[in-house]
Symmetry: C2
Subunit: 184 residues, 2 copies
């Protein structure tokens, strides 16, 4: 909660809860607290993978990857207006996500990262191809930090998702502020 | 699928999909196939833990335990008429599950079991207490087999959930038939 609060104060414009390990009943109180915090600050709150948890917690959206429930099905399970994001790795996947009703797509992992080692690698070229293929906002993800964020912006990223670059920074607020400033 | 089919042919009156490991997108095709099989045979199909997967697969119900989303919330997330089951361990939990809208409760694990080692132990006395506390059907679970099913029936179980006693039997159909016969 404290990290999320500082990130938002620094300029994070969206918070995602990503917990691949714990049961959803154990995640629910955290999700509800984050939802309240985000709402208080007018920042959308997205839950990773779990549509049921997102609905239970009153999150603004849910993000699904290639092993999660498909976007077309998720769209049917959530109320109108709920944000559905989808991980993609190339233009074809992004086009399909758009056709199935995704509100944004992510592209990654773009750079080496400790927290998403199980995910598929992508390149700045894939990011460019995805940006050219869909009209949706595109979120760059995977190992993004101050040293490479300009490259992902140049390749067309509308957003950048980070964990370590903010969470592991000596000053969370300041790290979020510097990254947010690059995105304009 | 083959085990489920044989169990149903033997007399299983409900099938539950329980997969605590794989991502829900990977479970979806299995869940859809089981739902079709069950529907074909007029047998309810329940999914363990995952409300979103249950909704996506068109299952007849969902079963939640103490670390899953709470029954009262699950009730709100599923359409009217969908079965909601809840793991309980004593009369108080069973009464709460009933008040929150559960359609049945389970009690277990009653006997030693390989597949549910992480679950809480319960006794035949807990089973009796739960049966006396609620008007809902009560399902006994955990290490139930031909050698002890009469005890759980005597203690008030309306149903018995098994894995090994059927799945690991030399003849699945026959094992299911013998257990089902005991339940009358």
């Amino acid at each position: 909660m404290e990290v999320a609060r500082q990130a938002i104060e620094g300029g994070a414009r969206l918070i995602q809860l990503r917990d691949k390990a714990r049961e959803k009943g154990l995640q629910l109180p955290v999700a509800e607290a984050l939802r309240s915090l985000c709402r208080e600050h007018g920042v959308p709150f997205i839950i990773n993978d779990h549509v049921d948890l997102a609905l239970a917690a009153g999150a603004d959206g849910v993000h699904v990857g290639p092993k999660d429930l498909p976007v077309a099905i998720v769209r049917r399970l959530v109320p109108r207006g709920m944000i559905v994001g989808c991980s993609t790795n190339n233009a074809e996947e992004a086009r399909r996500a758009q056709a199935d009703g995704a509100d944004y797509v992510s592209v990654g992992r773009l750079f080496p990262t400790g927290s998403k080692a199980d995910t598929r690698p992508a390149t700045l070229e894939s990011l460019r191809a995805v940006k050219a293929a869909v009209r949706l906002p595109v979120c760059a993800i995977g190992g993004i930090n101050e040293s490479n964020i300009d490259q992902v912006i140049a390749a067309g990223a509308d957003m950048a998702a980070v964990i370590a670059a903010v969470v592991a920074a000596p000053d969370v607020r300041d790290a979020a502020r510097r990254l947010a400033a690059r995105l304009g």
